[in-house]
Amino acid sequence: MQALYAQLLVGLINGSFYALLSLGLAVIFGMLNIINFAHGALYMMGAFVAYFLLNLGGISYWWALLLAPIIVGIFGMILERTMLQWLTGLDHLYGLLLTFGIALIVQGVFQNYFGSSGLPYSIPDQLKGGVNLGFMFLPIYRGWVVIFSLVVCIATWFLIEKTRLGAYLRAATENPTLVRAFGINVPRMITLTYGLGVGLAALAGVLSAPINQVRPLMGADLIIVVFAVVVIGGMGSIMGSIITGFALGVIEGLTKYFYPEASNTVVFVLMVLVLLVKPTGLTGRAA
């Protein structure tokens, strides 16, 4: 039984990465109608920016949490301005192909210069060590990841669903022409939203840098699972992707305990089951 608690907690930790990443994807899909396959590459860039900040600029993890999302977010906004914006109104496939291509290029460039095994990034001193919870030894850093990502997820949900800015955003997706008539700069808002989604990916990258290796392919390994999370949660649903992210982390953790061989397929099995029963995803509305 104790082992089970431990696995649940570990699942929750992984779930927080799924939640942060799928949240960014959901924001981008919900607001821009773009299936952002570059998300994994942007997550990886977040981790690399944290690495560079520390090793070239001596800038600590804490500043990286703030700076890396901004830097990568700006990179994302440049992408949106120069490329993605021309795809408005076209079939989803175009956006998917373009972002997939961007992901391959970004990964290839990083791989060319940094190889594939990755670079080390230490856990910040303040979060080193762990606490004995009785049923498991919880590294403080992992606990921090869960709490921090929960706060970020809820804040993002609040921003989009409960504030005036969020209301503008949702209205702009619904009917851009009308919103523009009210004097709101819709293209700029869209760019900023893409920047926000990208920033969330970069933030997840910084959070994961001390746990995993800072590797060019760290995002590529994760992105497929995250897409499954988004599909299960319902494309474009903010709360749906947060809840599914955490839930799937837990389910995956339990699989690792009961039948480890299936741990990297269980998410896809669930995806198939959900799609069979409810094609719009658990919280998705019919189009």
Binding site: A3, A6, Q7, V10, G11, I13, N14, Q111, N112, Y113, F114, G115, S116, S117, G118, L119, P120, S122, I123, G129, G130, M136, F137, P139, Y141, R142, I211, N212, Q213, R215, L217, M218, D221, L222, G253, K256, Y257, P260, E261, S263, N264
Partner: protein
Amino acid sequence: MKKSIASLLLGTALAVTAAGAAFAQDKAVKIGALSDQSGLYADLGGPGSTLAAQMAVEDSGLAAKGWKIDIISGDHQNKPDIGTAIARQWFDVDKVDIIVDVPNSGVALAVNNVVKEKNGVYINSGAATSDLTNAQCSPNTVHWTYDTYMLAHTTGQALVKAGGDTWFFLTADYAFGAALERDTTAVIAANGGKVVGGVKHPLNTPDFSSFLLQAQASKAKIIGLANAGGDTTNTIKQAAEFGIVKGGQKLAALLLFLTDVKAIGLETAQGLNFTETFYWDMNDQTRAFSKRFSEKMKNGAMPTMVQAGVYAGVRHYLKALDALGGNPHDGVKVVEKMKSMPTEDELFGKGEIQPNGRTIHNAYLFEVKKPSESKGPWDFYKLVGTVPGDQAFTPLSESKCALLKK
């Protein structure tokens, strides 16, 4: 009519002689470096292995003797089907003579069959499974550098003898992990130890915390890592996070490469014991080679033992071709020649290729240095002990290789 038959016969005879002459003078060779070019094993093999093969060709001096040697490379993406498809195309269309490297035991075993079928030459340096020169040995195959038997009988044995008598395995769920766990389990049992449990994890797993918790709960003295590359670095890094080593359990990195230690960082990796057959900083010759190698690598990396093995293997192959006086395009014949010559190169020293295809050379027990002991960006290892080749690798008496039954 008679005259025409006579001339026909003469013509045939001339043609046969001409073909014979062409055979003796055929000095064209095509080498295919098949590896994981972009995944979790790309740094330990990958582009570095292709470079090592190129350096071996340059250093062989055969170009000056009129040989024309080409190298092509391919990415098997850690998938046996892709690996065999590339190998088939190389033999059938590109007329490749020899395939080198091929990390990932699953792919390596699959390619082993193709090379045998096409009568090519196969010098494997990247894969670990000892089956390549045991149950699945082939007259076309030479296995350089290391194998699971060697890893088990060096690192594994040293740890059991030092008191690590209970083991829990974290095993990569494919041919390599299974072979390494099997060979290490045999060593543990032979030395009076016991395996108390284990988990098989999928290849390329980003998060090991669930598995590490199970290992922790098992209370085994040693947690054996029967995985490689990115999987091993993630396990070691996350084990540190979960306080596993501080809690008194010891990690046995059964297979660890130079690039893995670089990726983990000395802070976390210090004190790990493991075995390799090559390290760049062994003597003047290895240092000279490694410096040349590193200057040609995009990220300035030093060579791993896999890449060193590719270099040494290709050098020996070319020596055999030179001794044959031409390329017979007959894999079995070339490999027989390779086995008949003792191996000697700057990187592995003196050695031999056994009849089952296993190359025998020294193996070295290393310990990862503390950050304070490291003097440079690649100064990672301390030599702890040397195991002579005949003790490190499978004795022929234990080998089930069919080639030995002649």
